[in-house]
């Protein structure tokens, strides 16, 4: 699009430092790149790479977070002149912010002031920069809401942020940033906190606005798939430094730097497993050896876990006496089996009940009805004592947040030892041996045993969590978003570890995830959940290559593919918002009925939701 023009932004040798307890901490060491008018530049990197610091520096917002631009130039072309934003005074910056440069942030839930109406927040920028009257600003706000395709814009203006869904809020934030038709839009991880279908919509929206207005976009993300979908040019950052820069096609096709290659390798690409029946380990640069398919162990004809008609409802309390006034139908008549040594992935968007399902099987949440058989033992019938003694010997869980799933005040050794002792698996010195063995198994140095959790990185902590789960030699591990919080390279390593353990020990996994590309790589079978129901279940190939349920289809179509040549995000996507899972008391849900479209490939027949409209 651009090229010969003078760049809109030219960052030159930017260095940013933060105040630290023991002297300054370098946030960005030496960054130089430019953005041409109308161009989308994606800055990509893992956590701590300094990508957000770069964007905040450009807005000079980094100073409010305790940062300081110590050297470098932030060239910005204003009215045909190049000015250095790093030297600009407060008034200049206030005039530029929101007017010349718009910015949107990661968290749509917290990006809007909860106590002001949408109208007030959308108009105040206009009134400051454009000096518009209240009515003029309001008219412009309406126009903007229409532009970002928010239904019933008039209504929205009167509402408060909490009355809008996350996707809607991010649209409002974008509309706000677009208010003064900025020449540069900075989007700092704008879709990270969103579900995949909403992400697709927002990405499409940003792309369309860019094309319509001709503004440049500086897009900050950690997700290579998003980069592939959005970028004209890519800047790869690592630990405050620029690693590599280039057009998106070249970066993906021919990465020059080792780090870029590693980063790209670790990213699973949806569709790349097409035609393969068994899961495959993640690719890791330099570890080609393990690239061989996981050898499936002998499949026991009898399933390990059988879930029949599992239903879990949470009461909604309220009114006088805090009575139950409604129920959240978190899990609604869900049935599936998991054979030994296999992985069933449960996928779906937030609130679909996939986590509740996992917790219900472990009885961390008490199911309302249904049957859970683990090796023919009726889990739901166990007393709380037997549940502790028997069920949890065979089933363990790995949680999402590696920072919250380890007791910060207990040595790692003790945390892994605990289940061994509690279940009386080993005694005496055998305990110590077993713990050492487990540390070896999850590839952590034994020296870590006497450490505390805060001394470990996220990936290491998740390994401890796995070791702890493995300690009892479980038959089933429920992994609830176990790798979602990890950077992609770490994620790949942990996933590979899990797959190795499966091949070695014959463990079954219930793999709960929102990430379709990961699921495609690790699962034998896949269940898609929507509003508490399992809408479709089948083998990995059946689900990914031949999705039948409309929801499965839309879900798959919304996943960005980490390949710039396969851009699948289009503005014509329009997903139905997920209806509320809150049902009145006494609401009789219909049992789930399925069509078997292929052997072991079931598709839900029921309409879903309280007032489910025909599709």
């Amino acid at each position: 699009m651009a090229g010969d023009q003078t760049p809109l932004v030219s960052i030159d040798k930017l260095r940013v430092e933060f105040r630290g307890e023991d002297g300054p901490i370098v946030g960005v060491e030496d960054i130089s790149f430019s953005i041409a008018p109308g161009e989308t530049v994606c800055v990509v990197g893992e956590s701590g790479s300094g990508k957000s610091v770069t964007s905040l520096s450009l807005m000079r917002l980094v100073e409010f977070g305790g940062g300081r631009i110590t050297s470098g130039r932030l060239g910005f072309s204003l009215n045909g002149k190049q000015i250095d934003l790093a030297q600009a005074d407060t008034q200049t910056m206030q005039a530029i912010r929101g007017d010349e440069i718009g910015m949107i942030f990661q968290e749509p839930m917290t990006s809007l002031n909860p106590v002001f109406t949408i109208e007030r927040q959308m108009t105040d920028g206009l009134r400051v920069h454009r000096g518009q009257s209240r009515s003029a600003a309001r008219a412009r706000a309406l126009e903007l809401l229409q532009q970002v395709r928010i239904p019933e814009p008039e209504q929205r203006l009167k509402q408060y942020p909490h009355e809008l869904s996350g996707g809607m809020r991010q649209r409002v934030v974008i509309a706000m940033a677009m208010a003064c038709e900025p020449r540069l839009l900075i989007a700092d991880e704008p879709t990270t906190a969103l579900d995949v279908t909403i992400q697709a919509e927002i990405l499409a929206l940003i792309d369309r606005l860019k094309r319509e207005t001709g503004m440049a976009v500086l897009f900050i993300t950690h997700d290579m798939a998003v980069v592939a979908q959005m970028a004209d040019r890519v800047v790869v950052m690592y630990r405050g430094n620029l690693v590599e820069e280039g057009p998106v096609e070249r970066i993906f096709a021919d990465p020059q730097e080792e780090y870029t290659r590693k980063l790209l390798a670790a990213v699973p690409r949806l569709g790349e497993m097409r035609g393969k029946s068994a899961p495959e380990p993640m690719r890791l640069v330099g570890e080609t050896a393990s690239n061989a398919p996981v050898t499936p162990i002998d499949v026991d004809p009898k399933p390990l876990l059988q879930v029949h008609n599992l239903t879990t409802r949470y009461p909604v309390k309220g009114g006088l006496f805090r009575r139950t006034i409604a129920n959240v139908h978190a899990v609604e008549d869900v049935s599936f089996d998991i054979p030994r040594g296999q992985t069933l992935a449960l996928v779906g968007e937030s609130g679909c009940g996939k986590s509740s399902c996992g917790r219900s099987i472990l009885r961390l949440s008490e199911p309302t009805s249904g049957e859970v058989l683990l090796d023919q033992t009726d889990i739901l019938a166990l007393s709380s004592r037997d549940l502790r003694r028997r069920a949890w010997r065979d089933m363990q869980m790995v949680f999402q947040d590696p920072f919250a799933s380890l007791n910060p005040y207990m040595r790692l050794r003790d945390q892994v030892t605990e289940p061994i002792r509690n279940f009386g698996i080993h005694t005496g010195s055998a305990v110590e041996d077993r713990v050492s063995e487990l540390f070896d198994r999850v590839e952590l140095p034994r020296a870590f045993m006497s450490r505390f959790p805060h001394e470990l990185s996220g990936g290491q902590r998740q390994r401890i969590a796995i070791a702890r789960a493995l300690a009892v030699n479980p038959k089933l591990i429920i992994a609830d978003e176990a790798v979602s919080a990890l950077d992609v390279s770490v994620q790949a390593q942990v996933l590979n570890l899990m797959m190795e353990l499966q091949a070695e020990l014959g463990i079954s996994y219930l793999f709960i995830s929102h990430d379709m590309a990961v699921v495609e790589r690790v699962a034998h079978r896949v269940g898609v959940m929507y509003l508490g129901r399992l809408v479709e279940i089948g083998s990995r190939q059946q689900i990914f290559e031949n999705p039948q349920h409309s929801y499965t289809k839309s879900l798959l179509s919304a996943v960005p593919v980490a390949d710039p040549t396969k851009r699948n995000i289009h503005d014509d996507l329009n997903f139905r918002p997920i209806p509320s899972p809150v049902f009145p008391l006494g609401y009789k849900s219909k049992p789930s009925t399925y069509d078997e479209v292929a052997p072991a490939h079931l598709v839900l027949q029921n309409e879903v939701g309280l007032d489910a409209a025909p599709e």
Binding site: E107, N113, V115, H162, M176
Partner: protein, 313 residues
């Protein structure tokens, strides 16, 4: 609406519990009213007669029933020692103390909010240290000590304000305010210090929120960002803390009113306690607890006004 109903109902239940606790505690107080009335003229015979007359020999449950029945029907009885009907007495004393609480709260908020915001804006810089240290000193001194210092300074030293007494605002508003000023200030200083710390903490948290960054990114000037966007979000939490402090204030007035000879609720309750005037103790303790609870209810309802998130749920 149901939110309010819910709160009101919950309040009734708490009120009932308050009454039960009040009654129970006051009935295990040693000494009795009959003795207090007779003073050094007490002798067993006369005491027995007086106890009978006062109904102190009835079973406790009966006394409680009679008491709660009386409270409900507006018959709050008479003070045994002072012979004054309790209800109008409490109304008058509550007005006096209400004035103090109102004044001290106003003084405290008027100082604490700007100071707290200022400290938060300059978090961890000298301004913050200065404001926080001032606030810290405020909470570190017992409020009666502040009272003593204020008396020394303003009443004895400068002679600007009266050192003691209470004047009914209905009689002479100016004098009422002048008499309430020093005790209010003594109460307000500690309160201000506390609220400053709370405001600072709340604002520090708010200023780290994303919407503040968004507001800055819109090009709003810093004062708008802090004082409009930021403060609007701090109003609720600060109000809640201020509401909770009403309870603290009603504790402090016992000491402060006694120091300033300001005859309000605190003074009355203390007198009642000293004299074992059980009906008066019961009524005043109950009323104080009820007022404290009502103040918090009011704050909760106000919270709903300033924060739309509460309004709808």
């Amino acid at each position: 609406m149901s939110y309010i109903l819910n709160r009101v109902f919950s309040m009734m239940l708490t009120l009932f519990l308050i009454s039960a606790i009040t009654f129970a505690v006051t009935n295990i107080l040693p000494g009795d009213v009959a003795m207090m009335i007779m003073g050094t003229q007490s002798n067993p015979e006369a005491l027995a007669g007086l106890r009978e007359t006062l109904g102190l020999n009835d079973p406790l449950l009966m006394q409680y029933g009679r008491w709660i029945g009386g409270m409900l029907t507006g018959d709050w009885g008479s003070s045994l020692v002072f012979k004054e009907p309790i209800a109008p007495l409490l109304l008058q004393k509550m007005t006096a103390s209400g004035l103090l609480v109102l004044f001290s709260m106003t003084i405290a908020l008027a100082c604490a909010v700007p100071l707290g915001v200022w400290a938060a804006v300059h978090a961890n810089r000298w301004q913050d240290t200065a404001a926080s240290s001032t606030a810290m000193l405020g909470v570190s001194l017992p409020d009666f000590f502040w009272g003593i210092m204020l008396i020394l300074l303003f009443a004895r030293g400068l002679g600007w304000l009266p050192s003691s007494g209470f004047v009914d605002p209905a009689d002479d508003l100016g004098a009422a305010i002048r008499h309430a000023l020093l005790p209010s200030l003594a109460l307000g200083l500690g309160l201000m210090a506390h609220l400053t710390r709370m405001t600072r903490a709340t604002m520090t948290g708010i200023l780290k929120q994303e919407f503040i960054r968004v507001a800055r990114a819109k090009g709003l000037n810093e004062s708008t960002v802090v004082w409009r966007y930021g403060l609007a979000n701090a109003v609720g939490p600060v109000m809640t803390v201020a509401g909770l402090q009403v309870g603290y204030l009603f504790g402090s007035i016992i000491v402060i009113e006694s120091l300033f000879n300001y005859t309000g609720m605190g003074w009355l309750t203390y007198q009642a306690l000293l004299n074992r005037d059980i009906p008066l103790i019961q009524a005043s303790v109950f009323v104080i607890a009820a007022v404290v609870m009502l103040a918090n209810l009011l704050v909760d309802l106000l919270y709903a006004v300033v924060d739309p998130r509460i309004r709808l749920s």
